[in-house]
Amino acid sequence: MTNSWTDIRNTDLVVVMGGNAAEAHPCGFKWVTEAKAHRGAKLIVIDPRYTRTASVADFYAPIRQGSDIAFLMGLIRYCIENGKVQWEYAKAYTNASFIVKEGFGYSDGLFSGYDPEKRDYDRSSWDYEIGEDGYAKVDPTLEHPRCVWNLLKRHVDFYTPEMVERICGTPKEKFLKVAQMIGECSTATRTMTSMYALGWTQHSHGAQNIRGMAMLQLILGNIGVRGGGMNALRGHSNIQGLTDLGLMSHLLTGYLNMPTEAEPDFETYMKSRQFKPLRPGQTSYWQNYRKFMVSFQKAMWGSAATAENNWCYDYLPKLDVPSYDVLRMFEMMNDGQVNGYICQGFNPLLAFPNRAKLTSALSKLKFLITMDPLETETARFWENHGDFNPVDTASIQTEVIQLPTVCFAEDEGSLTNSGRWLQWFWPAATPPGEAKHDTRIMGEIFLRMRELYRKEGGAFPDPILNLSWEYHDPREPEPAELAKEINGRALTDLTDPADPNKVLVPAGKQVLNFSQLRDDGSTMCGCWIYSGCFNEAGNNMARRDNRDPGGLGTYPNWTWAWPLNRRTLYNAASADTQGRPWDPSRKIIEWDGSKWVGDDVPDIAPTAKPGQVLPFIMNPEGSARLFSRGMMRDGPFPAHMEPFESPVPNVLNPRMRGNPVARIFRNDVAQFGNPDEFPFAATSYRLTEHFHYWTKHNRVNAVLQPEFFVEISEELAKLRNVTNGGWVRVWSKRGEVKARALVTKRIRPLICDGRTVHVVGIPLHWGFTGAARKGFGPNSLTPFVGEANIETPAVKAFLVNLEPSTAPQDRPGVTS
């Protein structure tokens, strides 16, 4: 989230699209309720289903799953055409005026540079024209035909309300009503917030969905302001923490990158990370990359990391592929290339697509270690449960080791919420039985592994032997110790560069925040964006002061937010180029003539002059990008792409299937279904009664939503002779499930490109372990394909068929 949960109460319009906030984030949704009750805010829901969020919305518009980009581009077109643009903001704070290279083009749904063999773009034409001064060329009048604004206008021209209706199935008048309500937020004193979640991310073009809305928010002037922003509602209490701490194969902590094979040494690695400003005087904060990287290496390898050995750069793995994401790991596992798998707090057998493939892959492992407080399906993938898990146990040789861990309520540490707040928590209960903290298990494994490396050597034992492991109890690092390490400390006295006699931070003391980090090895820091969370002032994450001096929901002393306890990102954009708040009643910071002051930590150097230093300090441009250059694999502008399994062809290019650059493994191509065989458009989602695959273990949640079901329209029920509450079989090219049918008015067929599209809704909370009745997950049906940039599984739009059926059978002797 650019903003915080509590800030949503400041909005005038909430757009929930690509998410179902009331259902999946009921606690955070209270701030929508607050905005509605106290500001008269309106709520719009755009979703294939009339959701629980829609039930409290002021306006609901249906949309076909996977067609969001067309809708969003249609909105941008409407706003441009009808003058619903916050011109001062868009001109000053976006790259609207930047001139794009000659050679950039777009036709047949594809941008310039597409290579169908490689399924990739040559992105060199997707960039600015650079002047002789080394800076990007701009045309502030926006008259240059190749300025971003004019390219954008041309790009969105296709998405007329009629075209939106044709692609999305949203009736034109409903689309126009949404557009009109959103257009009202282009004034400086009306803001809109976007709340989205997996409904946008879990598509092969997920990142472009989000970009589409971000661009709309930029032209409306809604980024960096109170009640505005792009607000990703994270699906776990700490999934934001997971990404922040780089728990992905291609990331280090704080969004530093894992080196690739093309970067064999540190200087090569750093060369592409100079981040020279693209406009004069701009901050381009990533210029500090080296400081964060060196401090990270010092945190990893302590005194072993020296300037001479390039801070142990060689210890880091070098990726030979873009990422070893979960899909790739399971592909390799299924290919017999993986021997062992440690599955920590993760239930891939239900969470990842194409369950049959996952079962096959797990069956090829030599060993599987699961670390979980609950009995997961993954840990029991070998166990026959009749129709619910029809495996031949005797043929599976994988050794499964289950290590029971503690539940969140038995643990101490911090959870990072969607709003980037690191909230410290304390254990409320003692772990049962043999359950151990994850840190204990990891500590024990590490110590044993290190011992083996010490004794036996091996190809390259140094990264293990030299790993910094300075904990009070090496078997079980304490949460506070880890948090302090993440915050970082001075390794030698840090002196003031202006006055070498002045010690800013004595050796051994915690750094105040990342502004004190250095690239000379004198500081260490586990995760630079978290620096400041546990400094000499103490554990700032444990703060519980709920006073709100500004009265606008900032709560600056409640826990701690990254970066630097800043609650609203890009908040310098909440003021105009003179430093005056766009909306004085919702001021965040303002320029007092010499510095920025206000309720929140300014997201700009405190003395950076407004109008000169632009607010998007992480970008070398200083401004936000309507045109994202080559930053994304699938285009500098979002363009309509169909899901890989779509009930209708892509109107831009009927030969184009899915996202043209999304990675597809060879074996999965044959497993894509076509609408003639699988005529119905399915989508997967969560229900408020359950949390993923956890709460089915809880009796209370199981009572509230006991049994797996699929939701279909009355029209589809009639078409297929299905009765409400009866059993149906739903199958895709990859598998089948049996479910109770829930026939509802909340799903209606859509008319897309002249065809009737029936939507099948498949919630995801059931499996074959736990307290609830045995059932299936939609992942028995979903395709094995990921988002083109980040490989998030695309499980929100796929094709199925459906017919009445009988109840699924458990294995003999078990009644479900």
């Binding site: 009331a22 209270k30 309720t33 009750a37 039930s55 409290v56 009765t723 829930l742 509802t744 609830a772």
Partner: protein
């Protein structure tokens, strides 16, 4: 949470949102504050009047998350049965002796706009000011009403007859098959007594359920109704039905002119005239009839001679049996 008196009333908690004190607290109210007690004639008048409380359920803010149901199960430590999906979101499918509150989901197409509305109503005891359950209850002290309006079931006094079910205009009480006692929402009287709000209100993420003095809740409802009217719900209003003297659980409804669309919320709930007759006239007339019958018999017995068989009649019988002449039957006798 509880503050000074207003107009001689003892204050009650105003909100379920703020955190209660953690140290043990003595109960704010108890047996001395009963204004009604089932099957009890000579209930001493309460010494004080507690501020009437109310729970306000704003249907327009409710997202149907069932946190209230979950909190209710947890707080009351009940064990509702895990049922099957029968093609609806309402789970369990009905209130039970283990499920005191239930989100009822209705898909309703507004005939005026042709738009679908998903109406979600939290069902449960309405805590009527004139409680039909209490009126019907034959067991002394099994159902009580405190002067703050809470209607509570005192389970040790309950005999499990199910009369409360017949008395209730909202179809709320349920008899446990396990212990044969009636159960329903207590408005968390145990929590309210120590300054906390009901568990459901505490758990409600959108504050669709709020708890406080009835006066405050009505004021809050008025604001909500004004907001809903501004959003085009011309008939938005507060459901506080007069037929049962008003309720201590109230709804803000977007369509207050049509409560029936919210899973059959009664339009004009009142204690059924049949129940009124049963518990009223029948009781008095019946007792009078039985009394008159008994008294009449006694009077007849005292004043009328006993109907005794005479010696002569015995002789006639002997004569008849012996075949001796006896008086003949009167003429015309068959």
């Amino acid at each position: 949470m509880s503050g000074s008196n207003t107009a001689g009333m003892v204050d009650s908690p105003r909100t379920a949102v703020s955190n209660p004190p953690v140290q043990p607290v003595a109960a704010h109210f108890g047996e001395a504050d009963l204004c009604r007690r089932s099957a009890t004639r000579d209930l001493p008048a309460p010494q004080r009047q507690l501020t009437p409380v109310a729970k306000l359920i704003d249907v327009s803010k409710c997202i149907g998350c069932k946190a209230c149901q979950s909190a209710c199960i947890e707080w009351n430590d009940t064990h509702p049965e895990m049922e099957h999906n029968v093609g609806q979101y309402t789970n369990p499918h009905d209130l039970t002796a283990e499920m005191y509150t239930l989100m009822r989901f209705t898909e309703w197409v507004n005939p005026e706009t042709d738009n679908l509305e998903w109406l979600i109503r939290k069902d449960g005891c309405m805590h009527c000011d004139d409680p039909g359950c209490l009126k019907a209850c034959p067991a002394p002290g099994a159902i009580v009403q405190y002067t703050n309006g809470i209607v509570d079931f005192i389970h040790e006094n309950c005999i499990g007859c199910g009369y409360c079910i017949k008395g209730c205009p909202f179809n709320i009480p349920r008899i446990s098959r396990a212990d044969h006692r009636a159960y329903k929402c207590t408005l968390c009287s145990d929590r309210v007594a120590v300054g906390q709000g009901p568990a459901c209100a505490k758990s409600c993420p959108t504050q669709a359920i709020v708890f406080g003095t009835k006066e405050d809740m009505k004021r809050h409802a008025a604001e909500r109704v004004a907001d809903l009217k501004s959003r085009g719900f011309a008939n938005a209003g507060l459901y506080d039905p007069a037929g049962v003297g008003g309720t201590h659980v109230m709804y803000v409804l977007h369509h207050n002119d049509r409560p029936g669309i919210y899973a059959d919320l009664p339009e004009n709930p009142r204690i059924s005239p049949l129940v009124q007759t049963w518990k009223g006239m029948t009781k008095y007339v019946g007792l009078a009839a039985m009394g008159l019958m008994a008294v009449g018999s006694v009077i007849h017995g005292v004043f009328a001679k006993p109907n005794r068989v005479s010696e002569e009649e015995e002789r006639h019988a002997e004569d008849l049996v012996e075949g001796r002449p006896v008086p003949p039957p009167p003429p015309g006798q068959p």
